[in-house]
Amino acid sequence: MSIFEYNGSALIAMVGKNCFAIASDRRLGVQLQTIATDFQRIYKIHDKLYIGLSGLATDAQTLYQRLVFRHKLYQLREERDMKPETFASLVSAILYEKRFGPYFCQPVIAGLGDDDKPFICTMDSIGAKELAKDFVVAGTASESLYGACESMYKPDMEPEELFETISQALLSSVDRDCLSGWGGHVFVVTPTEVIERTLKGRMD
């Protein structure tokens, strides 16, 4: 089995009209045994920047701690928050540095950039950036997620509709994946507010 299938994960980020949404599942497992049903995969870097980390959970946590460290240093030196594009380049560089002994992690980065324009991006485990204008997915359920998002996504959705769409896409896909699921965690971020919701899904 692949190293990515050790813990199991599912992550989506979608772009809406002047907003974005980022969602993850909540299961943490050790191969086929579930050991936690409230595992946090999406972390806040600053008010307008979120990162979700799929893959091996230990590497996700270590990588998150290194990124927070680098971002805090940046805040001290520059006296401002990092732009999402800059943060994506930072994550890409940190991952590529470990090219021959990588972190087993696939990040999904979502943020509001200049003029509150939504920005989403994902990378493979060695930092190859994929910038998308519509949606990005990562995790063990990624094949189902691609299919669900491809059909359910529409451009320029309002925050409420975006929430519904991303939740339906996430829950439909994780139902077809043994290693992810047990509900969902959705953040919908607009320039003025952040709404965090927990979804109830199939608990198997």
Binding site: M1, S2, I3, F4, Y6, G55, R66, F69, R70, L73, S92, L95, Y96, E97, K98, R99, F100, G101, P102, Y103, F104, T122, M123, D124, S125, I126, G127, A128, K129, E130, A132, S142, E143, Y146, S151, M152, K154, E160, E161, F163, E164, T165, S167, Q168, L171, S172, G183, V186, T192, E193, V194, I195, E196, R197, T198, L199, K200, G201
Partner: protein, 275 residues
């Protein structure tokens, strides 16, 4: 007295500190991950006034298409561009790195960069990693000595050619070039031939797909034609799309942060309904 180890940001280059752990994991039967590759068809040809580069836009992760419209023609210098095939992270990192080195060299010498400079920087980097940095490149540009087109293989060998193809679709594209290429093509003929070669890769090679990107470089001028041809539009798009009524998805907990204050509002409890 205990010694504290401070994790300072490293000075650059590769770091190998997770290698032992990863080897231990693969010893236990856990396969390493597959990296994003750029399946790819990339081509270049020299025409009357300069160089034309072309590439498809599909990025794959195993059998899945992870990016339907990625950029494979990378900027090196105002007069030099490079197409990349192979592991996506490697092509992006190596072209970015050499592009920065070229710019520093340009400031140092006070002259416009030459294609052979980029070539030497790339080939020596790739050779020193003995093929482990898996980047196959088609480098093209126009400098004071004229138009140049080179291919660079992951192990560091290079060729200088009038027309070149690389990537999984290279055979399909080379077939087109071998039958239709001639010296002294005009700009329009050159672009048409490049598009035909890339389309041949797109339609016949499973690792290549989506759209055609073209870059035309002439003396003192360059034109990056992103998505020059889009021969794979999405057909049968449902005009209505899927709509989900508000309140369809049940959520357990609503926490909203508005301008710094947190409020917990009504909890709605219902099973998730599907359309």
């Amino acid at each position: 007295m205990s010694q504290a180890v401070v994790d300072v940001p490293p000075k650059g280059g590769f770091s190998f500190d997770l290698c032992r752990r990863n080897e231990m994991l693969s010893g236990k039967g856990i396969q390493p991950p597959s990296f994003r590759k750029t399946g790819t068809t990339i081509v270049g040809l020299i025409f009357k006034d300069g160089v034309i580069l072309g590439a498809d836009t599909r990025a794959t992760e195993g059998p899945i298409v992870c990016d339907k419209n990625c950029e494979k023609i990378h900027y090196m210098a105002p007069n030099i561009y490079c197409c990349g095939a192979g592991t996506a992270a490697d092509t992006e990192a190596v072209t970015d790195m050499v592009s920065s080195q070229l710019q520093l060299h340009c400031y140092h010498t006070g002259r416009v960069s030459r294609v052979v400079t980029a070539l030497t920087l790339l080939k020596s980097h790739l050779f020193s990693y003995q093929g482990y940095v898996s980047a196959a490149l088609v480098l093209g540009g126009v400098d004071v000595t004229g138009p140049h087109l080179h291919t660079i293989y992951p192990h560091g060998s290079t060729d200088t050619l009038p027309f070149a193809t690389m990537g999984s679709g290279s055979l399909a594209a080379m077939a087109v070039f071998e039958s239709k290429y001639r010296e002294g093509l005009t700009r329009e003929e050159g672009i048409e031939l490049v598009c035909e070669a890339i389309c041949s890769g797109i339609f016949n090679d499973l690792g290549s797909g989506s759209n055609v990107d073209v870059c035309v470089i002439t003396k003192g001028h360059k034109e990056y034609l992103r998505n020059y041809q889009m021969p794979n539009p999405r057909t049968y798009v449902s005009s209505k799309g899927y709509t989900f009524a508000k309140g369809l998805t049940g959520f357990r907990f609503l926490l909203s942060h508005e301008d710094g204050c947190i409020s917990i509002s009504r909890c709605s409890w219902c099973l998730v309904k599907r359309f």
